[in-house]
Amino acid sequence: MAIQWDIHLDTLGLFCPMPIIKTSKKIKQLVIGQVLQVVSDDEGIKKDMPAWCETTGHEYLGLEEEINGNTIHYKTYVRKTK
């Protein structure tokens, strides 16, 4: 079942550290409790997003992988907690 989200962030084509930088800026636009969906085609996001959440204290909700031609889109979900 797909995870419900409120705000979407597209980081396709961007490399480390851009997805994380953009996430840290975008999360400021959410209200507490809302969920941010971050889409990336950089495989590093699979480990980086949980690590970012652990450090910043936001809640990591999970990962979905979607095959799109030759690339995989990694969709990660973060709930703003503070």
């Binding site: 480390c16 550290p17 994380i20 450090t55 910043t56």
Partner: protein, 177 residues
């Protein structure tokens, strides 16, 4: 991209004491594009994770924070000559390997541009934007014939080893690149 205004030291200190963020210090000694890029990737990544990041630029690392195309204004000719031979500017850094008189570095930059990867100047702007503090080492500035007025605006401090150690002893991550 906008740069962050200089922090009021007292406000900043009060905020830090309350927040107690993890701290990172990075000594940037190298002036090689690949190494400097790594330094900025770690700096911007850490800042995005809510850490307080300070970068100390020394020796060849000072080339990163020099204004491009501005020649040295050192008083004695030896240092001035050195400042002229040693080109500055974040966009002129050579690769540490495969520079091949500029060809290798140009190829690398082309590949980076094609894949929309930010280079050193862009990463540096981002770091400033995220509140990363820049400190220039005064001793090596003098040694290398680089004068303050030929450095970029927005250098937070000009300082020495004690300032570095005072920061590093309270930091959880200290890197030397």
């Amino acid at each position: 991209m906008s740069t962050t205004a200089k922090l009021d030291p007292q406000v900043a200190l009060a905020e830090l004491q309350e927040r107690k963020p993890d701290r990172v210090t990075i000594v940037v000694l190298s002036g090689s594009m690949d190494r400097v890029m790594s330094a900025f990737i770690i700096a911007t990544g850490a800042a995005s994770m809510g850490m307080q990041v300070t970068m100390f630029f020394t020796f060849w690392g000072l080339n990163v924070i020099r204004k491009p195309g501005v020649s040295s204004k050192a008083r004695d000719w030896l240092r001035r000559a050195f400042g002229v031979l040693n080109r500055g500017g974040a966009d002129t850094l050579p690769l540490s390997r495969f520079h091949f008189w500029g060809l290798g570095t140009r190829m690398m930059k082309l590949v980076m541009r094609r894949s929309r990867m930010p280079g050193v100047p862009e990463l540096m702007d981002m770091a400033k934007d995220l509140g990363v503090r820049f400190i220039a080492c005064t001793t090596t500035l003098g040694l290398m014939g680089i004068t303050k007025d030929t450095l970029l605006d927005g250098i937070d401090q000009f300082a020495g080893v004690s300032t570095y150690l005072a920061e590093a002893k309270d930091a959880q991550v200290n890197l030397f690149i």
